[in-house]
Amino acid sequence: MPRTPSSRRTTRRLAADAGLLLVAAAFSLPLLWVVLSSLDTDANLQVKLPDGVTLDNFDAVLTPDITFTPLLNSLLLCGGGTALTVACAALAAYPLSRFRSRLNRPFLLTILFATSLPITAIMVPVYALFVQINLIDTLQGTVFFFAASQLPFAIWLMKNFMDGVPKELEEAAWTDGASSLQSLVRIVLPLMGPGVAVVTVFSFVMMWGNFFVPFMLLLTPDQMPAAVSINEFFGNRGTVVYGQLAAFSIIYSTPVILLYVLVARRLGGGFALGGAVKG
């Protein structure tokens, strides 16, 4: 029997579905492990169904030592870093987007160049520098470095979002006597709300998950963010209680996953990637 185009399409769709589900199954095994183990008092390193679902593991890790202090540190560190990044990026993007200057293009190319430098490589000199200028093991030093490392990309994104806001509205405000700063805060930023949200969430997610920067720049255990404390806590102990490790991993990961979902839904999937690397 000759195959019709529509039946061929159905076959093809089924094949694609099957292929994708296979990949998804492989990808989901480690994720299943963390979810199932967190609910299992008797968890080991394998994916297995718990005998009885229990929240004991969460109970055990929800202490100041393991969870609250590190998460608070993460919040201070990443919140501070994000606030600084977003404020500086918004200010910097404004003249780049609004005023013409011969320096704009070289500046933007430098920024774009910096976005792709491997920051990991400079952590050793940053450490040496921070020792010299007494910023080592300080929250503010780490916040500054976080902000600087995230700024190139934040400026770039912010400038592109700002270009999408029409200039006419500001010009009206200028005739009414508003300054550039006023028109930036009152008119431009509110109009590019989703753009600012993307830059904010993106910066925060990057810093929240970053391990190497606080690992190098902070020394006092009390100051460690979750990214480092989880490794110290579970990596250096003789016997690891895997259920608790899994529970803590979930607590630590949830905020960034929620934030990502928030932004991704608002901007439709691959957000800034759409126009990003196209060719």
């Binding site: 994708l20 940053v126 770039w156 391990f211 991993s249 060719g279």
Partner: protein
Amino acid sequence: MTTAPATGPGPGLAQRPAPAPAPPAPSHRTRPRRLLQALPLTPAVVLLLLFLAGPIAYCAFIAFTDLQLTGQAEESFIGFENFTTAFGDEAFLNAVWLTLVFTVVSALIGQNTLGLALAALMRRASKPVRTLVGGIVITAWVLPEVVAGFLLYAFFRREGTLNALLDWLHLPSQNWLFTLPILAVSFANVWRGTAFSMLVYSAALGEIPKEVTEAAEVDGAGGWRRMWHITLPMIRRSIGTNLMLITLQTLSVFGLIWVMTRGGPGGKSQTLPLFMYEEAFQKSMIGYGTAVALLLLVVGSLFSVIYLRLLRTEV
């Protein structure tokens, strides 16, 4: 910037290159006014100079000294000695080789090919499957680096899920983190980083006009031939930029490998960032560690320049 989630949503999801140079400014714009306009750039420029350009310059300086962490009054300038030492150091050459393997296996082959395959399959798949698969792959990407490390550590351990699965299939199992650590961390990086390529390629494939592929289909070109002769040439610039970006992200992976293997056993998964860390801190040779960092930075800069060129040809 570092991982995307730290290999993570990497840097440079740049939108488009800067606009063409501006025409000469109108004459009524006086110099003070222009300076005032540039004023908002100050905080960002200060931060970037102090905390990014500064360390890079400092890096270029101490790479040529014998700076140590302890027990040394003052460092002295030793020229290229750190670099000549490095190229005669077997541990360094081992790290270069492992970095190469890690980058080729996990980024160029793994993330890139799997990302493209997923993006291509998703265009044909039904919507619920698309959503489900996209969700799982992206979750792996968004997870903090250390958490991803733990999950993959559990997966590859002798008592872990992979071996349980192999036993169940009656296939030989082994202690992956001991026998093939560099492959284990490479697979971990594929698990963690594929979402990025998938998103890039989904966007690129979405921009191919339907008529083109339909015309080829009517002419009787099969799936593979369409992919090879039509789709791939049309998205070649996306392929180029994607390869650049994932290479740069992979070059700077630290936390994932650190959590899974600490670079071991016996340096068998010690890529350049881990080698740099060990020399600088566990052996206290900051000067030497920084020389390695500088090499990594130079390689990264080269890729970055190629990336800029690729973007520029688009305009």
